[in-house]
């Protein structure tokens, strides 16, 4: 599903150049649930940004579902993001003046799905994250866990190939974190490919595979026995 070869990325900081990713090789098959771990500055967010086509690599290859991702224009990148990727952010990034339903429907709007179909689909995904009754509420009326579930519904609504979650539990207490992880596991059980960036060991162990990053290289890549989050809920 995802394949990257010898990926390099550096940032210019004034006259210095900061080499963040120093040759990453990585493969993820369909249906995998991968945790990307590393301390801050290890390059894990940069890697996720490149995977999310929010940023470009300096060199190396990136293939997503057989499509080479290279030299994308902003328009093309936006279209690919819409078609291939779902994003879940640490700070939820819901649009605060739109209801939960409207937020979930947004990627479908950019896909050009007709209004009625969009509403139905969005409602279906809200139901799936258990927030159907909250459809008309604004994000400010939801708890943190609920917000993240809305965000996950939004990421899933466009039916992406890969779900990218950047510290999805970073802003949540542990109970809520497990709820969110439980949801992510269930989505993965349905066969969706998910990448989770985290720095929490317990969260990482709820995935099926952990990739450790340090100073811009992968230092360890291991399969783990998945800990089901519903044990804690």
């Amino acid at each position: 599903m995802i394949e990257i070869k010898d990926l390099h990325k550096s940032y210019k900081m004034g006259s210095n150049s900061l080499h963040v990713l120093k040759g990453i090789n990585f493969r993820a098959e369909e249906g995998e649930l991968v945790a990307i771990m590393g301390s801050s500055g290890s390059g894990k967010s940069t890697l996720l940004n490149i995977l999310g086509m929010l940023d470009g690599a300096d060199s190396g290859e990136y293939t997503l579902d057989g499509v080479p991702i290279k030299d994308l224009s902003e328009t093309k990148a936006a279209q690919y993001r819409n078609k291939f990727l779902g994003f879940v952010f640490q700070s939820f990034n819901l649009i605060n003046y739109k209801s939960a339903l409207e937020n979930v429907a947004l990627p479908l709007y950019y896909q050009g799905v007709p209004r009625k179909e969009r509403q139905e689909k969005a409602l279906k995904y809200l139901e799936r994250v258990g927030l159907k009754e909250w459809a008309t509420h604004l994000p400010s009326e939801l708890s943190g866990g609920q917000k993240q579930r809305v965000a996950i519904a939004r990421a899933m609504a466009a039916e992406p190939k890969v779900l990218l979650a950047d510290e999805p539990t970073g802003a949540l207490d542990s109970t809520t974190s497990y709820e969110v992880m439980d949801l992510i596991q269930k989505i993965n059980d349905d066969g969706n490919t998910i990448l989770v960036v985290t720095h929490e060991e317990d969260i990482a162990h709820m995935c099926k595979r952990i990739v450790y990053l340090k100073d811009g290289v992968i230092v360890e890549d291991k399969k783990v026995k998945q800990v089901r989050a519903d044990h804690y809920v």
Partner: protein
Amino acid sequence: MWLFDKDLWSEIFHTLGKNMFRTFLTMLGVIFAMIILVLLLGSANGMSNGFDKLFAGTASNSLFVWGQSTSEPYKGFERGRRIRYKLEDAETLKKQIPEIEVLAPRIELGSHRDVTTVYRKGQTSGSSVYGDFPEIDNITKKKLVEGRFLNNNDIEHSKKVCVIGEETYKLLFEKGENAIGEDIRINGVFFAVVGIYKPNNNINIDGENAVFIPFTTFQKAFNSGDRMGWMAIAVEPGTKVAVVENQIKTILKAKYDIHPDDERAIGSFDMSEIFNNITAFTNVLKGFSFFIGIFTLLAGVIAISNILLITVKERTKEIGVRRALGATPKVVKRQIVVEAIVLTAFAGLIGFAISVGILAILNNVWGSGEDFPFVNPMVNIPQFGISFLLMVGLSVLIGMLPANRAIKVRPIEALREE
């Protein structure tokens, strides 16, 4: 067509409605600009209409020709010879110059601007007495207070009737006394009053105290033969008065043996010059108003752009999220430009409504145009259309500024901003 996309509009009204107060402040500049533009244009139009009303009744493309004294010796004649026209000249001119629409010959009792004593029951008035054809009414319209003006029947039968000025009426009659049908005496001849006119207080050629009698009656009563004092001439629309004026002078000069370079022998007055000057004045006024208005409007639209720039900065994160979710730069740009257009157009309409209201009030207060040239001050549809299109056009151009700013920030940077 994206223009009819319900979602785009709900998106826009959502964003604008979210912050009503700021939206209102943003629009204020354009509202005021539109008020200023429409008020200026409307007032200029009002003045233009006012002048039109002032001169209503006077044919704008007309001239007057009379005889003076020669200033050059020619063909054995000495200078200082008095030029006297004959009635047949009128026919000659009409025949030779097809551009002449109306030609009304006139004769005066005594020399030019002379007054004759008019009697009635012991009361007297020193009035100008004119022999006229009814056609004169097509060139300088008389506002009749009572009765009628001279007609062709009067001419044919050389009727002893007259039309008198209000001033003459006041001198000869008691206040409120009926004058129609009453006789007045001029040089021993009696004339029955058929009409009283009110002097046109703006262009006054005939004087306020005057008596008009049929030309043919004049000839018989005062034994003027075929003499003709002067001519009032209306020229076909679209023809320059000055051209006809020259043709007339050439013909008359040839007939009366006047030196071709003699400028004084034939007196003439081109009415259209006055009108051209006034038209030029009001046009400059209109142009100037438009100029000021458009620049005020530009300032207003720039204010909108400014606020949108701030809004875009505030919404950086939201825009980043939208782009991560698949909004293309085009979609983001379009939304901000359409926001600019909606704000401007809405503000423009509000300003327009307010200013039209103000103009209507002004019209009620001063719009009668009696003592001040200000009638029906209003903008016309093309003026409104042009300013509105210009405004929306400007807002598209100016909306591009914040729109470009919005897409310049890369989604990753927008998302990072906490």
